[in-house]
Chain length 517, copies 2
């Protein structure tokens, strides 16, 4: 039953009215969130250094007011009123999905006491600061007291949110980032993934043949890189009428809403593939945001599904597209326009190979496709142990290093390149890391579905035709916002629940010919 | 009696507590205002076109929440509690000034019914849109119904605010922009100003001699202009650690607070003096903002005094400094570094002359120093008549054109270059224009006081030493925030109430030698 029929039914007139009143409040809260997002972007890209102190207070008051609007008792009453009308919510309509998702957000928000949230905000803000100093000095002891506090606060948070029956505390935290995600579901996909990745990595590293790294070692002027990368991002479909591309220390996709999406990237003179990869990655996030329905801005139907689904979009454009041979067939002849003579000696094959060099390393954010997920698995194992209490924070470095030896056969030289490398835990974000790998797996499964739906898709890439893929993603994924839960969406789009299989097939299919032919 | 002694007096302990609680609420409201200011800056400089619709909603909700915080009954109670303690507020302390100014803002805010403010916001938003279209087509009839509504709403606003005894409705509106400003006080300074300006202008225009305009007609690359202008702005003292300079269609000074001040300027390839003048003007505003006390951010003591005082700072750097011979002695040799050969043939004298060409024209924002204030006087006369009801909106073009003939001996060719040229009335801002001239007069009076306090000041400019002037302005004006009313501040700084005399002496002393020697 659609909302239109409900509106014509006089006996039910009250529910649509309650629903509209509910959406109005939710939209107001979102407006404050979207304002905060502009401030965050501004802080990373434009703000003069002097602005930093007041900026944190501006962001804090917006967060506080947003929380007040979202948890207002009237919101709870309006949700209950909508829910009580079974004919209104007992369907697969947008309205039904909106009420379900607003309920989800509301229940989480009201479960977290203001005292806890404010302590959490303070400790994670200071913790990040201490982490940055500790990482710089490679001094884990300095960060340890903060890590202890952050683990404790996260366990408290999990207990407020409620641990699902048969589940564990980590699940309650992960659910914030990926609805329905539990340690059990993650383990189910991670276990076969790890086995085959280890095997593949052994093959690749054991082979005498490997792609040349020469292109990745070619210094190119940053100004030319910026023009090149903007051309690529625009060519694959990012809409600059509704977005921007700037540079920042850590690349991210920010902005307010689908009509104002802001990407950042970073440039290293030493390797244009760094900027290219991070730009295509962020553009993937950005095109998801731009593809969300404008008519639903500020409501769940107009918001991105989850971090995992978001990451699927960024990975898909960065990897399946941007590290593929068809992309390089299109891209190779363009390089000379931006970089002149210096790139004349590279064949398409060599450029494609350079985009796919595999080399185990200590740093997650620098990892290639074959090793990236091993980094994530280490973090998933460890944060699960930290939250359950099986691992004490003081023992983290030893466990970390043991796992790196085990998973990647690497001896971690210091904590800076070990357990202090990522910002996430210092921000209080536990349960976040697996979404990177879930996104990677979704990307391959979605990409397979796209290729099945559009034979000849990759031939188009070689001609610079990326619109068909973006159009398909717009229709199949972006347009739905949060209408379906991640697992539901996956089944709808691909016909099957999430599995590591498509990703492993994709990776083996690409890397074996490059390394072991 | 200072607050410190009050704090040690147990019998009065409650007042300082109430005062702190009051400031906390005022600071929160200011945080939202400072956020809104970043959004406004972003909209003019960075936002992609697609963002415009949601941006107006983001700004609207921030304005609404700010109004709610500022007019909360608790604010009124806390003000009253502070005021009831005569020993607390009956002094010239910062605390006393803060309470007085918070009272002023609060009374104005609560006097304006939400219904009126929301109608005002809607009509002025639509009115601006219609004005822009009407100006483009030079079609006054299109704008007329909106002007009628805006005049009516302003009269209603004036009546809510309360017309001062012996005053007129216009006074209540002007007081928003310039505390204590009335039509009578404005007339008192404008009348002698006009008489002598008309006489001076007659002399200048009647003279056969005039400075060469050749430098103003020299096309120079915009990229080089941008580097040059940034150097000048930094040299005169704008702090780029706590500010930025970008470009926008209409130059302005925005940002959040003293540690994050954002200037914009505009570049015309045809004339670098356009960018130079507008940059020094906005930098003057910006250095005022940067000079406000950081410890008082978000309270009246940390806010700029009034539009008139603000404009005095921009005019002072733009005109008294930037159009002065000492400045050009410093600047002239630098031009070649930025523009090469093409500026080699200009003597310092010629550059100084080019900065001071006088030529009556139709457009206020393009006017020189000698004619600028005539444009303002026309608007002051007309808006006063509109608000009193003596002039009907439909008769505006005729009166406008008659006044331009009378004041500047110009025949206005169309309404685009006539009564449709300015945005102010379409934004609902009546009572604003005179602050431009008040600022101009303050600038000359302040500059005289600075020269008296620092003999040899201008000799320093010729050496690039602008710090002494900025330091003096910091101490004498900026550091006080809203502690003194404009007229009080003027007497404190210059020893006399505002007068047109210093400005006229300055202008005649500069222009007569250039034109009539």
């Amino acid at each position: 039953m659609t909302s239109a029929t409900l509106r014509s039914s006089t006996s039910l007139i009250e529910t649509p009215k309650a629903y509209e009143a509910l959406l109005e409040r939710i939209r107001d809260a979102h407006l404050l969130g979207s304002t905060e997002a502009i401030l965050t972007w501004d802080q990373e890209t434009m703000m003069p250094p002097g602005g930093v102190e007041l900026r944190s207070r501006q962001v804090a008051i917006l967060a506080r007011l947003q929380h007040q609007l979202s948890t207002h008792p009237a919101v709870g009453e309006l949700i209950a009123q909508c829910e009580s009308d079974k004919s209104f919510i007992g369907s697969h309509s947008i309205e039904s999905a909106n009420v379900r998702e607003i309920r989800r957000d509301y229940d989480r928000a009201v479960k977290l006491p203001e005292r806890l949230m404010s302590e959490f905000a303070e400790v994670s803000s200071k913790g990040q600061h201490e982490w940055a100093a500790a990482r710089k000095a490679s001094d884990f002891k300095r960060f340890l007291p903060w890590l202890e506090k952050l683990v404790k606060l996260n366990r408290e948070k999990a207990s407020c949110l409620g641990v699902p029956s048969g589940g564990e505390a980590w699940d309650a935290l992960a659910d914030t980032f990926e609805p329905g995600c539990t340690a059990a579901t993650v383990t189910k996909v991670f276990t076969p993934l790890r086995t085959r990745l280890v095997k593949l990595l052994g093959e690749l590293m054991g082979s005498a043949r490997r792609p040349s790294n020469r292109f990745n070692e070619l210094a190119l002027p940053i100004e030319a890189q910026a023009r090149f990368v903007r051309m690529v991002v625009e060519s694959i479909g990012f809409d600059f009428q509704r977005g921007r591309l700037d540079s920042s220390t850590h690349p991210f996709c920010g902005g307010s809403h689908c009509d104002d999406v802001r990407l950042t990237t970073r440039y290293s003179e030493a390797c244009v593939n760094d900027a290219l990869g991070s730009s295509m990655h962020e553009a993937g996030h950005g095109m998801y945001e731009q593809g969300l329905p404008a008519c639903a801005i500020g409501t769940p139907a107009g918001l991105a599904e989850s971090l995992g689904i978001h990451e699927s979009q960024s990975r898909l454009w960065e990897n399946q597209v941007g590290r593929g041979l068809p992309f390089w067939k299109w891209c190779a002849p363009k390089l000379a326009d931006y970089f002149g003579q210096s790139v004349g000696g590279f064949s398409t094959t060599e450029l494609y190979g350079a985009a796919n060099v595999v080399e185990p390393g200590f740093i997650r954010v620098d990892a290639d496709e074959a090793t990236y997920n091993m980094h994530v698995m280490v973090r998933f194992d460890l944060e699960r142990l930290l939250i359950s209490g099986a691992l004490e924070p003081k023992d983290l470095p030893g466990e970390w290093n043991r796992k790196y030896k085990d998973y990647l056969n690497l001896t971690v030289p210091d904590d800076r390149r070990g357990c202090l490398q990522d910002v996430h835990w210092s921000m209080g974000a536990f349960g976040y890391f697996p979404t990177y790998t879930l996104g990677t797996l979704y990307s391959a499964q979605f990409y397979d579905a796209a290729k099945r739906a559009m034979p000849g898709l990759e031939d188009g890439f070689a001609q610079g035709e990326f619109k068909p893929l973006l159009g398909w993603l717009n229709r199949e994924i972006h347009a739905h916002g949060r209408r379906y839960l991640p697992e539901e969406l996956c089944v709808r789009v691909t016909g099957a629940p999430l599995s590591a299989e498509p990703y492993l097939n994709y990776l083996e299919g690409k890397l074996r010919p490059l390394y072991c032919a």
